[in-house]
């Protein structure tokens, strides 16, 4: 290990660089600690820099006449000349083309970090790393242009940069509240409903239109869905936080909670963190109880730009195809006409269901629940396997319907209502 010779301060002046005037020793000379070794010029004075330790002057990096930033390495003192080779190489690479004027090195200014990495790990900025991952670019194939050795966004190709830009879309909307559609009235605790991926508050119509006569209903719309703001949903916990915030903003003392599919997962997470406010929980084909989800469906739904490409996916949701009429498809497509919404949902799907897998598991939350809980599922669900329901503990009620797909409340609203009214009247 050789010891670097540096200019730490130059005569108390605030300087950005110094000019090297003279070296009093040559490479290979023996020096004692404190010996004046090199003279540098600042704005007003010449300053002698002493040898930092005893040894051999093993390298001179800044020859007389060169101007160097304050705190840069002028040379090394080592055991012998060879001792210094690796440090010199490192300094030379770190210098890079054209020298960046450095601020005085105090704890307040961040210096070029010269990162200390275990070998084998590729150094890349978080943004470059994210963009490369999204585009499937191997970082090992990307050369770094920064003197820090860190791969930056600019080192990736244009496609990856575009991906990163899309990823950072509309951050200004980040804290806007989720949309909540209120309807109905009544004195009983209200019903809070959370729809599934690709749907919106209107998808509850078959239930809502019957329940609103006697109860207040609050339908929360997921981010990037319906009239809710579009924003990046990094992972399930951030989605759950969003839902919790929307729920807290409603300031309800007590509520019945109904969630479908991804909304079911959200409802389950909410019941877990706000147990005292949840009177009952009804989960319709909920996500998060197992790893499997029909990725082609999620992808296809989010991508479809016209009725013809949307229809097959809507049909996949139900057991009885005839429910998916042309009018139904047209209405569903109309609700998804905003390209920004579709794109936001595609990103959301990638973040929540990476590689077509449900990236979160709520079985532990399910086991912690104490409120009356019921799971409702169709045995012909092609989106999430109904057998996931069997992971639930014994105290959870289970209603499985024959000849029913992923949306029991669309296919069998009357029976689902029967089940729900029983749940709402149960005492916890």
């Amino acid at each position: 290990m050789a010891t670097p010779i540096t200019v730490v301060s130059a005569g108390g002046e605030y300087m950005e660089s110094v000019v090297v005037l003279e070296w009093t020793a040559a490479v290979g000379d023996r020096v004692a600690a404190g010996d004046p070794l090199v003279t540098v010029e600042t704005a007003k004075a010449a300053t002698e820099i002493p040898a930092p330790c005893e040894g051999i002057l093993s390298a001179i990096l800044a020859p007389p006449g060169s101007e160097v930033p304050l705190s840069s390495v002028l040379g090394f003192v080592g055991k012998d000349v060879d001792d210094t080779r690796s440090e010199v190489e490192e300094e030379r690479t770190a210098e890079g083309p054209p020298p960046v004027p450095l601020p005085a090195r105090d704890p307040g200014a961040s210096a070029l970090p010269g990162p200390d990495l275990p070998s084998g790990r590729i150094l890349a900025s978080p943004a470059a790393r994210y963009a490369a991952k999204r585009l499937g670019v191997a970082l090992s194939t990307v050369p770094a242009s920064s003197p820090t050795g860190r791969i930056k966004l600019r080192d990736l190709d244009a496609a990856s940069q575009a991906a990163a830009a899309a990823y950072a879309r509309a951050p200004a909307d980040d804290h806007a509240p989720l949309r909540v559609v209120a309807s109905g009235s009544g004195n009983a605790p209200p019903i809070v409903m959370i729809h599934g991926f690709g749907a919106d508050a209107d998808s509850w119509y078959p239930l809502e239109s019957r329940l609103n006569r006697t109860q207040r209903i609050l339908r929360i719309e997921l981010p990037n869905h319906g009239g809710s703001p579009k924003r990046r949903v990094r992972d399930f916990s951030s989605l759950a936080r969003d839902i919790r915030q929307a729920f807290d903003d409603l300031r309800l003392e007590r509520a019945h909670l109904v969630g479908h599919s991804l909304g079911g997962a959200c409802a389950l997470a909410l019941a877990d963190i706000r147990p005292r406010q949840i009177a009952s929980l009804a989960l319709i084909a909920p996500g998060g109880l197992g790893p499997v989800i029909n990725a082609r469906f999620i992808e296809g739904m989010a991508r479809a730009t016209q009725p013809a490409s949307l229809r097959p996916w809507l049909r996949m949701m139900v057991s009885d195809d005839t429910l998916i009429s042309d009018e139904f498809v047209a209405a569903a497509m109309f609700a998804r006409r905003d390209p920004a919404l579709r794109q936001a949902q595609q990103h959301m799907a990638q973040d929540l269901f990476p590689d077509g897998t449900v990236g979160f598991n709520l079985n532990a939350a399910m086991n912690r629940l104490t409120c009356p809980t019921t799971i409702i599922w169709g045995r012909e669900d092609e989106i999430i396997p109904w057998k996931d329901a069997l992971n639930a503990p014994g105290r959870v009620g289970l209603h499985l319907f024959e000849k029913t797909g992923h949306v029991p409340h669309l296919e069998r609203p009357e029976v689902v209502l029967d089940v729900l009214s029983t749940v709402f009247n149960k005492k916890g």
Binding site: G12, P103, G108, P113, K152, A168, D174
Partner: protein, 324 residues
Amino acid sequence: MAMMRYAEALNLALHEEMKRDPRVFLFGEDVGRYGGVFKVSKGLMETFGDSRVRDTPISEQALTAMAVSAAMAGTRPILEIMYADFIPLSLDALVNQASVFSYLWEAHVQIPFVLRTQGGGGVGTGAQHAKSLDSFLTHIPGIKVVAPTTPADARGLLKSAIRDPGPVVFLEHKLLYNTRGDVPEGDELVPIGKARTVCQGTDVSIFASSKMVLEAEAAALELAKEGISADVVDLRTLRPLDLNALKASIAKTHHAVVVNEGWTFCGYAAELSATIMDHCFDDLDAPVARVAMPDMPIPYAETLESAVIPNAARIAAAARTTLA
């Protein structure tokens, strides 16, 4: 629009708010007869009398506790602490009283009071009269902290602070009092918690407040000559922080420089840096660069003082480093 100095804009806001609301009163050392050492309260005693503009002895600890009690009793006190360096004397009343009373008594009590003070260096006032102790104050949940840069924001934010139902610390800077700017006519409020974009840029975000915004602007001009486009954001409110402004800027530039005149270690710039890491990690293309005061007493000699106070050159250098 009227062109006026920062100190005049504050004076205008005080006149307007004291006229609007008879519960508002001002007290502190030399704020009455003398008109304040920086002339912010000039003419107020003449206009509103010595019961609403009160000169007090030098005892920051007692004064702050008095302000809290007066606010609880239904008035809207404005307390001036002459130098932010003596904020530590006010801290007990802020940390153990003003910030928690509403919580302890389940919102039956409100503490609507404004603590005005000024800090910062640059004129050779030494180690006891030049500090920026932003982080002492922003550390306290339940206290809002604002630090306006322009005369317009000084007036608009002071009016918002006086009308706020909770305690607000209002940080001024001794080198801003004589700066001039347009101030809108009418009862224009500037909301607490909203940052201001000073100049739009695409390469690097610079976040600053108070006097440091002027340095950041100068740095942006310097950087522009080198083809670097800086997005300068004046935070205006230090707490609650305008997170959306932070995120929107970094989503554009992927590079951040955070600036604060206070000390580096555990300072406000450190908080900004950590917040950016929490919320924008995947958007970052380089480590966040921090520009703040070195951890040392502020030297009295102006040459030494100017070497330690963050300035445009250091901000520009930090921007270049993060972009390298």
